[in-house]
Amino acid sequence: MKARHLDTLLLLLCLGFAWELIYALVGPDVVPSPVTTLRRAGELVQTANFWKDAASTGHAFALACAIGIGGGIAIGLLLGFSKLATEVADPMLGTIYSIPKITLYPIILLIFGLNLSAKVAFGVIHGVFPVIIATMSALRNVPPIHRRTAHVLGLSPAATISTVLVPAALPEIFSGIRIGVAVTLLGTLLAEMFASASGLGFALTRAMELHEVVDIFALALLIFASAAILNGSLLALERRLRGHD
């Protein structure tokens, strides 16, 4: 366990070194050095503007997560309880999940207008499908013996759901939630990059248009780091839910 973490750390160091090498090759106009980027990132987190953008992104992201995950679990449970509904909906959801949703953003903008709700809606259409699919498949994978036991014990449908099915399906639903959270963040940032007046995605596009290479790198690094931390903590929670392995 420890040795593996060390290896990963070594690999990250190598990647940092490769970055430095590329910087030495192509020069500061294209790629800033790691040190400059880190310093700029350190400066950025002390500015009020950065936190305004981060708060705007965070607000949209949190709303989108709440709606996408809540809605996804509700729809997934509804569909998952009926075998017929699962079989009909599964291939359709798979197809919808695979289309590039960025193409739908103009439609969403036309419906919601250029504001917070468009960002939230775009995040939601990214995040809701993996959660629905995971919830449905989690219910399908609950061992039949659980249901039969509940039946034998004479549990009411509500008690069966809350004390048997949901606990049994929870770990798999949770990995759906983790994927959902990740793509919701992607959706929110994409929405901000394409058309928006605030947020980290907007700050990125602005830096790109002004050709502020160091700013782009620093922002990308900060977004990367927060996404990685978020994913890591969800993963740790998931491991705990699964008990062991």
Binding site: D7, K101, I102, T103, A182, L185, M208, I216, F217, A227
Partner: protein
């Protein structure tokens, strides 16, 4: 019922698509996106396969890279697009690189998965038959891993399209995504919905074909 500025009826979308197809006014854009996507998919499939095979041969490196690979799709890699623009300029280069970057890791992960699942008995048989390294790779390992490799190709294709179209949306010189974004900005709903429909049809056809191929391969190899 719905404001015409928001959405046009489906029949009109199909009509707009027909008009686009018959007039040929966007042929250059369509070709631009299709060739870029093909290039990005090719790059990510070949690169991903080579990287996956290399990692498979080096277990220690693989264990070290594993957390990075599994976290890759959890971070929005697309935020790299502005950097690619700076590095390659606005044009094909940045788009192809974006598409390949988004697609390659799916291919790496599935290559590893496929090589892991080659049944040990096949490898042993190959050793009994005294096949050389190259023939063992070509005749035994690759065919056995093929269903998983096709899964990788399917995912890499889906992700590459997202990377490229998203890139065209943000900043590009041409392409289907660019036309859709332009149509949106000019309130030219016929162009926007027509191109949108075209893109969705293209994606669904490619995805459907790959999914069908994948299913057939899995069925054929699933029995062993």
């Amino acid at each position: 019922m719905i404001n015409r500025l928001t959405m046009i009826p489906p029949t009109e979308m199909a009509g707009a698509l027909w008009q686009i197809a018959s007039s040929g006014k966007f042929n250059a854009d369509i070709l631009f996106t299709v060739t870029n996507t093909a290039a990005a998919i090719t790059l990510s499939v070949i690169g991903g396969f080579l990287a996956g095979a290399t990692l498979h041969a080096m277990p220690r490196l693989r264990h070290a890279a594993n957390p990075l690979l599994s976290a890759y799709y959890a971070v929005p890699v697309f935020v790299f697009y502005p950097l690619l623009i700076v590095a390659f300029g606005v044009g094909r280069g940045a788009l192809i690189a974006m598409g390949a970057l988004v697609g390659i890791v799916a291919m790496i992960v599935n290559t590893l998965d496929g090589l892991d699942r080659v049944p040990p008995v096949l490898i042993k048989t190959a050793e009994v038959l005294k096949l050389g390294y190259a023939r063992k790779l070509l005749l035994v390992r690759l065919p056995a891993a093929l269903p998983y490799l096709v899964t990788g190709v399917k995912l890499a294709a889906a992700y590459s399209v997202i990377g490229i179209v998203a890139g065209e949306f943000i900043l590009a010189t041409a392409g289907i995504g660019k036309r859709i974004a332009f149509g949106y900005q000019d309130f030219d709903n016929r162009t926007m919905y027509g191109m949108l429909l075209l893109l969705l049809i293209l994606v669904m056809v490619v995805n459907g074909a790959l999914a069908y191929w994948e299913k057939r391969l899995h069925r054929r190899f699933g029995r062993s």
